[in-house]
């Protein structure tokens, strides 16, 4: 076993986990497969890129900006579009979010071209070397940031009044409504929150990946695998799923072939679906 490969996988997996959290939350609470998450991720990455490029703002400091902008965008999209389509059911929402994704992605293509861009803060090359294992500072920082954000979100969902309202709405919307929760507002809030989180994931990802309008599309497949691995609606599950996917990818790239990374990930997905369809840490998150 190569320790370096495992470390690489784990550091990458944290980011995958964070990227999948919003998707998992929306699926769990609203029963929507939100294909627009990819575009939100890309937008978050671009926000970091432009703030860094134009004003030299440190990429980590751009996180709140990404979160705010995407929260606003998410709120607008939920209250103006998603809300009106909800009653037409699962498939129609799939079509709508797919359309939204295309729209946003192409808008970014028109506005900022297909050029590959990268965020390169001064510290991006430096790293730690422990016993022959190399840990780049930036990857370590991203990993810690991702875990922190998931941790904060978990605390928010479990300990606050609004968090409890979101959980109750996820488990049984009707009952939640009748104990006095404004479930319509909770839907808008959940969607915006999920957009903000995936936007922040995009911001972090922009520091280690090249940014282009396609960035989110590439990540969407990973988000799928992570969510299925971990189980819908489970935040710790998303992190675990992310770590497993990260390690699997690292091993595939090192020992089999980098080109087979996605293939192996999807084989893993299918195996999990066959033997444990609820995911590794899946609970029944939405009620009957």
């Amino acid at each position: 076993m190569d320790l370096q490969v495992i470390i690489n996988g784990i550091l990458l997996g944290g980011l995958y986990g964070l990227a999948a959290v919003g998707f998992s939350l929306i699926w769990g609470v609203m029963n929507i497969v939100d294909l627009a998450q990819g575009a939100y991720l890309t937008l978050g990455a671009y926000i970091t890129f432009w703030l860094f490029k134009l004003w030299g703002i440190d990429p980590f400091l751009t996180l709140p900006v990404s979160a705010l902008i995407l929260f606003g965008l998410g709120f607008l999209i939920e209250s103006q579009i998603i809300k009106r389509v909800l009653r037409y059911g699962f498939v129609m929402l799939l079509v709508v979010t797919y359309g939204l994704n295309l729209l946003l992605q192409n808008a970014m293509l028109v506005a900022w071209s297909a050029d590959y861009r990268s965020v390169t803060p001064a510290y991006s090359g430096a790293g730690l070397n422990i016993g022959g294992v190399n840990i780049p500072y930036i990857r370590l920082a991203l990993f810690i940031a991702a875990l922190l954000l998931v941790g904060l979100l978990t605390i928010f969902l479990n300990k606050t009044r609004v968090g409890n309202a979101i959980r109750a709405t996820a488990l049984n919307r009707l009952a939640a409504n009748l104990v006095g929760i404004r479930t319509e507002f909770i839907y808008a809030l959940t969607y915006s929150l999920a957009a903000a989180v995936v936007g922040m994931a995009g911001s972090l990802i922009s520091m280690v990946y090249t940014v282009s309008p396609n960035l989110g599309g590439a990540f969407m497949t990973k988000i799928f695998v992570v969510t299925v691995l971990g189980g819908f609606g489970s935040l710790p599950g998303a992190v675990l799923g992310g770590l497993i996917l990260g390690i699997t990818e690292a091993f595939t790239a090192s020992y089999i072939a980098p080109g087979l990374m996605n293939a192996v990930s999807f084989i893993l997905l299918v195996v999990i679906l066959i033997f444990r369809p609820q995911g590794l840490m899946g609970k029944q998150f939405y009620g009957a």
Binding site: A175, V179, G180, A288
Partner: protein
């Protein structure tokens, strides 16, 4: 004083008149029964009161203020709680968490400390005899306990009016008697109760006044012993010939 006033309320679904020009009042402190054969419009009536569906015509007032047009959460904030024929717990939470969801979103508790919420939850758990199962996941409860849970969650909301939609359905005789006792206990604490029930023994035993719906209309109301003798009611339930059966069952 009338706590709840239903005035000339109608509601149709497509061409079906589910509730047709129904008027009644529920006074403070009463237990009122709402009975009628399947499809009479009882549950629709409850849905109209709790705001889940909209009133076509007429209006509903609570403590003198209009309910008609308010959203379900706003109606809940006014002090109307309800339970369902098919229980609707938050599966995945514990018994305590379920009851807590009742207390957490009360408009009158906003800004209060967590300890105040905890006290309310403890009280509701004890009242419905669930204190020993407080930390259990809901999945472990049997049907009777789940019905108690629904009532505990509703009581944690601090309701003035409690709408009970067939709480007795599916319970055995012993469980029914126990639950009847509990419903009387809730009423004694000042909660007004409107109860839909198919179990005649329960509804006749609990209610001082019974409303009878048939084909969406209110066809009779009065004390249980009068209602069971009413020819219109007997006909609605049994057709013309077998009317002695209902009378017997009511006892």
């Amino acid at each position: 004083m009338a706590l709840l006033e239903v005035k000339n309320v109608s509601r149709s679904f497509g061409g079906v008149q589910a509730v047709n020009n129904v008027s009644f009042e529920v006074n403070e402190g009463e237990i009122v029964g709402l009975i009628g054969p399947n499809g009479a419009g009882k549950t629709t009536m409850m849905n109209l009161i709790s705001g889940l569906i909209k009133v076509n015509e007429g209006e509903i007032r609570f403590q003198g203020a209009r309910l008609t047009g308010l959203k379900p959460h706003a109606i809940a904030h006014k002090g109307i709680a309800r339970t369902f024929q098919i229980v609707k717990p938050f599966q995945g939470m514990t018994v305590r968490e379920n009851v807590m969801m009742g207390a957490l979103f009360r408009s009158d508790l906003r800004g209060l400390k967590g300890s105040a919420v905890k006290n309310i939850v403890d009280e509701a758990l004890e009242l419905l005899e669930l204190d020993r199962r407080a930390e259990a996941p809901v999945e472990e409860l049997n049907l009777a306990q789940r019905k108690h849970l629904e009532l505990a969650r509703a009581m944690a909301m601090g309701p003035k009016l409690l709408l009970l939609d067939e709480v007795m359905a599916g319970l055995n005789l012993k469980e029914i008697e126990r639950l009847m006792e509990l419903v009387r206990k809730l009423n004694a604490r000042g909660v007004t109760i409107l109860v839909i029930e198919h179990v005649m023994k329960a509804v006749m035993g609990l209610s001082k006044r019974v409303l009878v719906m048939h084909h969406g209309s209110l066809i009779a109301q009065g004390p249980p012993e009068v209602i069971t003798q009413d020819p219109k009611v007997i006909e609605a339930y049994l057709g013309k010939r077998r009317h002695k059966g209902l009378h017997k069952e009511a006892r």
